[in-house]
């Protein structure tokens, strides 16, 4: 499958910017650098859109514009938390007003498929529309569904994306679960001093996938694979090895590995294990210091990989023009995913 275009709204301003000077934060929470939405979306529609919807719809519209596609054959989104701000707004009002005098907008916007639905509404797209909401697989499920539609010839272009947001409330509640770093740390340093906790992140990334090459594609998405709750490091290793085997490639064919370390020493143990067992001597880069940890961060990683293959440039690395990239990430050691990409 070809990635014809890719657009993202993330805690990084742009790919060229993060190559030059990645945005730095000293907080355990990375918020997105957001565009002037009025330049991308109809101002009359923006008034009702909350944060996540503006992010998702804008990234999608930029993606479609870049691909030169007005009406994709399918729109598929992945989001683990859905529209948190709207959910909180309605829930708070409901509690404060004791179920009286509630207004509909926040409720309507809180449904998980609002991003995909708004995109369809804006471009009047009557085609297949779906939203996956499965935690650390939300984006992967969306990708797999997109690939499957393309393979079945039910679609020739699919707009697919992953999006999740942070709100003050969500950050507080997740913090209470002990997920994040307690002491201030620069996002660019999270891998340097092993400690517990990661940093919270958010973002939206959308892609236009097609079975046909356009001559101007970012990259080829060769394969996507997921595995769930592996029982130990050996099962992780076996899944990765089987994946490579199924793609008829050896570790030596891979030029670059993008891995999902998140700075939490417990979480990152798997990556150092796998790195030693399977990838000694390979060029490996991280990505979560750029976007934070959240269930659909792999969408940011795919955007990063696509841009690396298109431009030939890798952040912090002298190596240029990689031809094959392997992506490996796990979310809380429950949802594990692998992507294989090639240069066009």
């Amino acid at each position: 499958m070809f990635i014809r275009s890719a657009a993202s709204i993330s805690p990084q301003a742009s790919f060229s910017q993060l190559l030059a000077v990645p945005a730095a934060y000293t907080s355990n929470r990375l918020n997105c650098i957001e565009p002037d939405y009025a330049k991308i979306l109809d101002p009359k529609l923006i008034r009702r859109m909350s944060h996540i919807i503006k992010m998702g719809v804008s990234a999608a519209m930029e993606c479609l514009k870049e691909a030169g596609v007005e009406n994709p054959d399918a729109i598929i989104a992945g989001t683990a938390y859905g529209c948190l701000a709207d959910t909180e707004s309605f829930l708070t009002k409901m509690v404060e007003n004791k179920e009286e005098l509630l207004t509909p907008t926040a409720f309507i916007q809180s449904t998980h498929n609002t991003v995909a639905a708004q995109i369809a509404l804006m471009i009047k797209c009557h085609n297949y529309n779906n939203t996956f909401v499965h935690r650390g697989f939300s984006f992967e499920n969306a990708l797999l569904d997109a690939i499957s539609l393309l393979q079945e010839n039910e679609a020739s272009t699919v707009l697919v994306g992953g999006v999740d947001e942070i709100t003050n409330v969500s950050h507080e509640i997740l913090s209470r679960f002990g997920l994040y770093k307690k002491d201030p740390v620069s996002n660019l340093e999270i891998f340097n001093s092993p400690s517990k906790g990661t940093i919270d992140g958010e973002g939206a990334a959308f892609f236009l996938l097609s079975k046909q090459a356009s001559g101007k594609d970012y990259a080829k998405l060769d394969a996507v694979y997921t595995f769930f709750k592996p029982e130990g490091i050996d099962e992780v290793k076996m899944n990765i090895e089987n994946f490579l085997l199924s793609q008829a490639i050896n570790v030596s064919d891979i030029d670059l590995i993008i891995q999902g370390r998140n700075g939490d020493v417990r979480n990152d143990l798997i990556y150092s294990n796998i790195g030693q067992k399977l990838f000694p001597g390979k060029t490996i880069i991280d990505y979560k210091h750029l976007c934070g940890e959240y269930p659909t961060s792999s969408a940011f990683a795919l955007w990063l990989a696509a841009n690396i293959l298109k431009t030939g440039k890798i952040p912090y690395q002298a190596l240029e023009n990689p031809k094959k990239i392997l992506f490996y990430n796990h979310y809380q050691n429950i949802h594990h995913s692998l992507y294989l990409l090639s240069a066009c």
């Binding site: 509630l102 309507i108 995909a116 639905a117 369809a120 009557h126 529309n129 996956f132 409330v169 429950i334």
Partner: protein, 399 residues
């Protein structure tokens, strides 16, 4: 890619019964499940009838064999999914490539909304246990773990078409030879969040709903879970109980008209039904029964009715909305109604549209008002249309 997908088993829990047999009995006896709120604690209790599953959380927990503090959404899901799996009686289940695709819209909100008042008063308060399964996907995983399914576990959330989308997503995974068996469908429990949300839209009926009636007033919210077990031809061939039907057609289309209202011509509904029939390779005249989305709102029923008028033109098959029995079970409705559709084929049943009195003046047809069995039911069309213009239609066909 034209490999058939068989339905090997069904599982359901709703306001009209705790399992398939009980639901069937209620349908036959024309006994609706609406009533006064017993388990949900809301100020709207006296005013709004709902179709609750007739058990407390602790009773459901016993039936589900899960801890009582778990979200009601997960409890309902576990009960129905276990029944479906048992019904399918697949001998070497754990050696096959299996999947669980469960849809829901509310996730663990029934617990979160009880956490929130304490949290709002003091951000350090509120039991974290209440929000750990807030996400839609977390509810699914509780049940996937119970069923010991690992190959493919996923959750879809597209409002009222959610579980219909789960079902045809599962079917495609089987057709593409990625999985052998998929338990697909959905679940949703009543929560104050949804009840109040729908109330702000002013589409709730304060009497028992009358879908497709000229004087309809709105919908009654319900809760429940419904799953079908989809299997490949190879697995079907080895089953002791031969499957009575296949999922022969499906389609998802988007109305792209408005966030919550359907277009007057029912564009999304029309495209979904037409697409499903095309996939199934059948004509409108081949449809034996339509299980309508039929929520009872002014908007849905006219849009859906108009789409049916345009698509079928003159020979309208028998049709009814079983939401007149179960209420609108939101994320579970596609799954619940898929089970009813399968039973319709298995036993030749046509369900009544309860409390129907006056034909809608815009439509040249009216729904069935009496339950009947022994009918020749070859193809059933089941509609599920949700917010965000998400329209899905499924077609079940006799083997």
């Amino acid at each position: 890619m034209s490999a058939p997908v068989f339905i090997a088993g069904t599982g359901i829990i709703s306001a009209i019964g705790n399992n398939t047999a009980e639901n069937l009995a209620s349908l036959e006896q024309e006994k609706a499940g609406m009533g006064e709120m017993r388990f949900l604690n809301s100020i709207h209790r006296q005013r709004l009838p709902v179709a609750e599953v007739k058990h407390s959380n602790s009773e459901l927990a016993e039936m589900a064999e899960m801890p009582a503090h778990v979200s009601r959404t997960a409890l309902l899901s576990a009960i129905a999914a276990k029944e479906a799996l048992a019904d399918a009686a697949i001998e070497n289940f754990h050696e096959l490539r299996t999947g669980f695709i469960s849809a829901n819209t509310v996730g663990g909100m029934d617990k979160t909304e009880n956490f929130f008042p304490e949290f709002l008063s003091n951000h350090a308060r509120g039991r974290l246990r209440s929000v750990v399964h807030h996400e839609c996907g977390a509810v699914t995983e509780l049940v996937a773990d119970k069923l010991a399914i690992k190959n493919y576990v996923s959750t879809i959330s597209t409002a009222c078409s959610s579980s219909a989308n789960s079902i045809f997503c599962g079917a495609r995974l089987i057709k593409q030879n990625i999985l052998d068996v998929v338990i697909a469908g959905g679940t949703d429990a009543l929560a104050k969040f949804t009840l109040n949300g729908f109330n702000t839209l002013m589409i709730l009926d304060n009497k028992y709903c009358q879908p497709f009636d000229e004087n309809r007033r709105g919908l009654n919210l319900g809760e429940g879970a419904g799953y079908v077990v989809l299997v490949s031809e190879k697995v079907a061939a080895k089953l002791a109980k031969k499957p009575a039907c296949t999922l022969s057609g499906y389609c998802n289309a988007n109305d792209a008209y408005h966030q919550t209202a359907s277009s007057p011509e029912g564009t999304g509904s029309f495209l979904a039904m037409k697409g499903a029939m095309q996939k199934s390779n059948i004509k409108p005249a081949d449809i034996s029964y339509i299980n309508l989305h039929g929520t009872g709102t002014q908007n849905n029923d006219i849009a859906e009715g108009t789409a049916i008028k345009l698509l079928f033109e003159k020979d309208f098959p028998p049709m009814s909305s079983t939401k007149s029995f179960t209420g609108h079970t939101l994320g579970a409705s596609g799954g619940v109604e898929a089970v009813f559709s399968v039973l319709s084929i298995q036993h030749g049943l046509i369900y009544p549209n309860l409390r129907f009195q006056t034909q809608m003046k815009e439509l040249p047809f009216a729904p069935e008002t009496k339950f009947s069995k022994g009918n020749q039911v070859n193809h059933v069309l089941s509609n599920s249309f949700g917010f965000g213009g998400n329209c899905s239609s499924l077609i079940f066909s006799k083997t």
